[in-house]
């Protein structure tokens, strides 16, 4: 079915690193469940999602990223449509397909399946952007940058409105990195960076940011465990996360020491704060290993981009690396108390269906790029004069 012999070596380290990360996540989930009577429900579910994710990975290999690239605009439109439905659901009830959960509209339910649209939107965004940028040179003028920004800001605004601040925050750095490697002028990008540098603080003080988001940022700068009010209120999650990580020590508390998690002392331990579980169990060595695995994925991902000379493949590989890298840095950053807490899962590790599946789909695209033989005769794309 799949010509395994055709898979160039570059895809393997990426896949193995991702599988190792997922394994650590599943073990973390299982440890909190091991003591409970009955089968470990969450663990089994996670394994099920993993198998769906691997199937998706295979499917992408079968279809190939070039074929998918051709469908990128329709897919993007479908994604925007789904996001629009979530926005409408706020005003027009669409139960049982879309229901409100924790004051937000993020999921579309079809039968037994829940789709977290923003997770899939990331892929279709990267596809569409890569497809748009692949042969163009006009983004080297400032006007030409307009369209990529529209492609980014429209889904971003819709995801922000769900609200899902975390995912929406991923799109801008991804766009920026893709534009950068595609050859946008430094001058233009610097202007954009500058605008961003101005926009962020003004966003902080604007009414667009709500009180709890502001509190989370304040909580980051006020990490004082002796302040009881901080400890029990805005800083609770962070403080508990730091305790979980710190108590891991050098070698970790081991797999069986699940008491800390069994008693729900760390909220969202399987999702956004799964890294705290891993660091608690495997200690500093384990945590370093996790960081190393992500570096492997990103390093080999960028190597894949470098090895191919297909412009779509290059941009796809860079975009996927950018999104995984951004997500990982934000998630780990918030878990260890270097970034404000935003709802953001850790790629390949966090429990949750849509996230895991979409991560493996992206991995599939990356490996698909790696598997495509390069045409040595073709000119390398995106080689512009610096001037």
């Amino acid at each position: 079915m799949i010509n395994w012999r055709g898979v160039p070596l570059l895809g393997w380290p990426v896949l193995l690193a991702a599988l190792s990360l997922t394994a650590l996540g599943v073990i973390g989930v299982y440890s909190a469940e091991a003591d409970i009577e009955g089968p470990p429900v969450t663990t089994l579910r996670q394994l099920m999602f993993l198998s769906i994710g691997i199937s998706g990975f295979m499917l992408v290999q079968l279809v190939g990223y070039r074929e998918l690239g051709r469908w990128s605009y329709p897919l993007f439109v479908v994604t925007l449509g789904a996001l629009a439905l979530l926005l409408i659901a706020r005003y027009v009830p669409m139960a049982p397909f879309i229901i409100e959960r924790r004051n937000s509209y993020r999921w579309i339910t079809i039968g037994p399946m829940n789709f977290q649209v923003s997770e899939y939107a990331k892929i279709s965004f990267i596809l569409a952007l890569a497809y748009y940028l692949r042969y163009r040179t006009n983004y080297r003028s400032i006007v030409g940058l307009l369209m990529p920004f529209v492609l980014t800001l429209v889904p971003m605004a819709m995801i922000l409105k769900e609200p899902d601040l975390g995912t929406s925050l991923l799109l801008l750095p991804t766009l920026f990195v893709m534009l950068y490697v595609a050859g946008a002028r430094n001058r233009h990008l610097s202007i954009i960076l500058l605008l961003g540098a101005i926009a962020v603080p003004s966003f902080y003080f604007s009414p667009l940011m709500n009180r709890y988001q502001r509190e989370r940022i304040q909580a980051l700068f006020h990490q004082d465990e002796t302040d009881h009010r901080w400890r029990m209120d805005a800083g609770y999650q962070l403080a508990q996360s730091k305790i979980a990580i710190g108590s891991g020590g050098v070698a970790g508390q081991g797999f069986a020491e699940g008491a800390f998690f069994r008693h729900d002392l760390l909220p969202e331990e399987h999702n956004d704060f799964i890294f705290a579980v891993v660091a608690h169990q495997w200690g500093f060595l384990g945590a370093m290993f996790v960081v190393l695995l992500y570096l492997i994925i990103i390093f080999f991902g960028l190597t894949i981009a470098s090895a191919t000379n297909d412009p779509l493949g290059r941009l796809l590989a860079v975009g996927i690396c950018a999104v995984i890298c951004a997500q990982t840095l934000i998630n780990l950053g918030m878990t260890v108390g270097l970034m404000p807490i935003t709802g953001m899962s850790l790629p390949f590790v966090s429990a949750g269906g849509s996230g895991l599946i979409s991560n493996y789909l992206m991995l599939g695209l990356l490996v698909s790029v790696a598997r495509r033989r390069t045409l040595e005769m073709a000119p390398k794309p995106f080689e512009f004069d610096e001037a």
Partner: protein, 744 residues
């Protein structure tokens, strides 16, 4: 260019990775031990206090009157009571985790199951207990309401400080707590509920304690007193404030009246605590120390018997609004009985409080024995005689010829025989004047001793020589105790802007005028007459206070004997006002009757309040102008508290006018005042006094006709008691009588 830019891009994850590793190094290796300690600490559940049992109150023979009994409260988590969304989600998760049956359930089905369990709790409880589901709903609603009220309050306070926050986002500590649904769960229900509903984690059966009154005797209600929530002042004044386990904490129950208040320091215990880890293993525990029991000097059986006698006596006529009787041991001044009728039922006190408070005719909440002051009337005459003897105004043989009127044709100045249309007593000497209760003898005595010297003597005699004049003399220490009115020179100066007149001396000598004493003071006065020493009475066995007997200065044994002889004659010789009424065959009682003039008390009063109310103007022009307008509110009520309730006014509102609409008791035909209070006070046996008694029947009429027979019943009850309070032995009563008689 692409390759180069890729390399630039690659620096970002490498840099980020380095920063993360540095941070992890700091958290896990540098501060690792510290976080490890914290992780251990967070696995420990908060300390739970173990409440001590409050000490019991016993009677003098060890019978338990009040005790703390362990019981159980049923309480439920606030999330379950308010059906909070987050709580239901967590609970659904718990349901799925706990049981094999539910783990295949979808999340929304499990949430539905959680809601179903929470909602059916009340019906299931109603099935298992006596209360109806509606009562549980009402209790739930009141809990939710009070928490929401608190939320509103805090939210507004925070908004006032400029903190903007959505009301729904505010998390109160109360929302994570268990709230009591049923207090004092019946034991049979408890096991049933545990079996039936034990799988529901959102409610708990928690150990608690309950104060149980072990006696049916309603006359003890005042004395035993009540417990209530500790006040802010008590928290601050707590003598054990520095002991973190022993000190009062908000919500603690402390004695607020009667013996519960008096003996608080003995009765209160010290709480213990228990520390468990989250798996439920006890890590550390300190047992609570229960409060010590308090033994009263009261004989519960005698108390109950006397209460029955008094209750029967006041039931004769509806005008007899109440009564009181105090029995003292003469030498130790231990209170053997302290009865106030009518009493009330402690168990239903809370429920009937409004009714008890508004019962203005009989005032059942009034602790008459120590908290109500009455004119002593004639029972004070032996003390007046001692004053006359001390100051040399009279001697044993000084006589006064009683012709029935001290001032002819006057309105008041007559002997009591005058009102009965009888001739006067004729020539009266000291003992005879007491025996016959001759007013004219004492008018003359009082006039010559004079008011100032007389009241000073009374003050020493009744409140104790050299007592502290700056505060109320609380001889028993009970919070409710009052020390009467003795119109000393200082008192007259302070409260009456006038000088003494000769008439004051006359009035004070027969126990009238401003003078008022409590039944306890009356009993103590007779105990002092019996043995010649003043001593503070006590109601607690082994009272540690300084209570030395203090001699009444300047009175010779012969002079004491004159007064005692008068009291003997009064009961035991024909012509005595209590002769045959209070005379017992087998006990020589000395005593004196009294009829104290009094006025009828208001039982309905019209109260008028002028209240400032805000009125918003209806006219469009002045719509934002608010006017205040004085509104006149009026109502007729038995008590001011009731009037405030009826008019919905704050509890400190003061009426601007009031007018008594109705008084009680009714004034009998041919009289201008209601029937006087009937007193009898005395001691027995004559020669070796052991027990002193004072009793009063409110509006009973003549002391001789009404109170003296009750006095005889009370002495009989003391004789019939299983304990030999009179020191005559059960078989030697006749001998006692014989001994006393032979002496005369």
């Amino acid at each position: 260019m692409f390759e180069r830019r890729l390399k630039v891009v690659l620096t970002i994850p490498i840099l980020g990775g380095l920063i993360l590793i540095a941070r992890l190094y700091r958290l896990q290796i540098v501060d690792g031990a510290q976080y490890d300690k914290r992780a251990e600490q967070s696995l420990i559940a908060p300390k739970r206090f173990l409440p001590p049992l409050r000490g019991s109150v016993l009677d003098r023979h060890g019978r338990v009157l009040v005790s703390d009994e362990p019981t159980f409260d049923l309480s439920a988590h606030y999330g379950a009571l308010s059906e909070d969304e987050n709580f239901l989600r967590d609970y659904a998760r718990e349901i799925r985790r706990q049981s094999r049956h539910y783990q295949r359930m979808s999340r929304s089905d499990a949430e539905g199951e959680a809601l179903r369990r929470v909602q059916t709790l009340y019906d299931r409880l109603a099935e298992l207990t006596e209360a109806s589901a509606d009562e549980y709903f009402a209790r739930r609603d009141s809990i939710v309401e009070s928490v929401e009220f608190l939320r509103d309050y805090i939210w507004q306070a925070r908004a006032g400080e400029g903190i903007e926050q959505r009301k729904e986002d505010m998390r109160l500590r109360e929302e994570d707590r268990f709230h009591t649904l049923i207090r004092d769960l019946d034991r049979t229900f408890q096991s049933r509920i545990e079996i039936e509903l034990g799988d529901l984690s959102f409610f708990r059966i928690m150990p608690a304690v309950r104060r149980v009154w072990q006696t049916e005797d309603r006359s003890l209600a005042h004395l035993l007193g009540r417990i209530g929530q500790v006040s802010k002042e008590r928290l601050e004044e707590d003598p054990r404030k520095t002991d973190w386990l022993a000190r009062y904490r908000a919500g603690d129950l402390v004695g607020v009246s009667g013996v519960e208040y008096l003996a608080e320091d003995v009765l209160r215990g010290t709480r213990g605590y228990e520390e468990k880890n989250l798996d439920g293993d006890v890590i550390e525990s300190v047992a609570s120390i229960d409060g010590a029991p308090v033994r009263l000097t009261i004989d519960a059986d005698l108390q109950q018997r006397v209460a029955e006698i008094l209750q029967a006596a006041i039931s004769v006529e509806s005008g007899r609004t109440g009564g009181s009787c105090v029995i003292l041991d003469v030498s130790t001044r231990e209170v053997l009985a302290m009865v106030s009728v009518p009493g009330f039922d402690q168990d239903t006190f809370r429920k009937h409080y409004d009714h008890l408070r508004d019962e203005a005719r009989t005032r059942p909440l009034l602790f008459r024995a120590i908290a109500e002051e009455y004119q002593p009337g004639s029972i004070v005459k032996p003390v007046a005689l001692l004053a006359g003897l001390k100051h040399g105004v009279v001697t044993a043989n000084t006589t006064y010829d009683c012709d029935g009127s001290y001032i002819d044709h006057s309105k008041h100045w007559h002997c009591w025989t005058h009102w009965k249309h009888r001739p006067g007593h004729g020539p009266m000497a000291a003992t005879g004047a007491i025996q016959h209760s001759c007013n004219l003898y004492f008018y003359d005595l009082g006039k010559h001793v004079n008011a100032r010297r007389l009241s000073a003597f009374y003050d020493d005699f009744i409140r104790g020589p050299g007592h502290d004049t700056s505060t109320v003399v609380r001889s028993t220490g009970l919070l409710e105790e009052r020390d009467g009115i003795i119109p000393t020179f200082e008192w007259i100066e302070k409260y009456r802007d006038r000088a003494y007149t000769w008439a004051d001396g006359c009035n004070y000598a027969i126990g009238q005028g401003e003078m008022q004493i409590t039944p306890l003071q009356a009993a103590n006065m007779y105990a002092t007459l019996a043995n010649g020493f003043y001593r503070d009475p006590t109601i607690v066995m082994g009272d540690q206070r300084e209570r030395r007997p203090k001699p009444i200065a300047g009175i010779s044994p012969a002079q004491w004997q004159l007064a005692r002889r008068g009291l003997y004659l009064c009961v035991n010789e024909p012509g005595g006002t209590a002769y045959e009424k209070a005379t017992l065959d087998n006990l020589v009682i000395c005593g004196k009757t009294g009829s104290a003039q009094c006025v009828a008390r208001p039982v309905k009063t019209k109260y008028v309040f002028n209240v400032e109310q805000e009125v918003s103007d209806e006219s469009a022009l002045a719509s934002d102008l608010k006017r205040t307008e004085t509104v006149r509110l009026e109502t007729v009520a038995p008590t001011l508290e009731r009037a405030r309730e009826l008019l919905d006014l704050p509890h400190d509102a003061k009426p601007d006018e009031w007018r008594v609409v109705e008084r009680w008791p009714k004034i009998p035909e041919g009289r201008t005042t209601p029937l006087p209070h009937a007193w009898f006070a005395g001691y027995a046996p004559y020669k070796k006094p052991r027990v002193a008694v004072a009793l009063i029947i409110e509006h009973g009429g003549s002391g001789g006709q009404v109170a003296a027979p009750v006095g005889r019943q009370v002495f009989s009850a003391i004789m019939e008691s299983a304990h030999d309070y009179l020191g005559v032995g059960s078989g030697s009563q006749q001998v006692a009588k014989g001994n006393d008689a032979a002496d005369d």
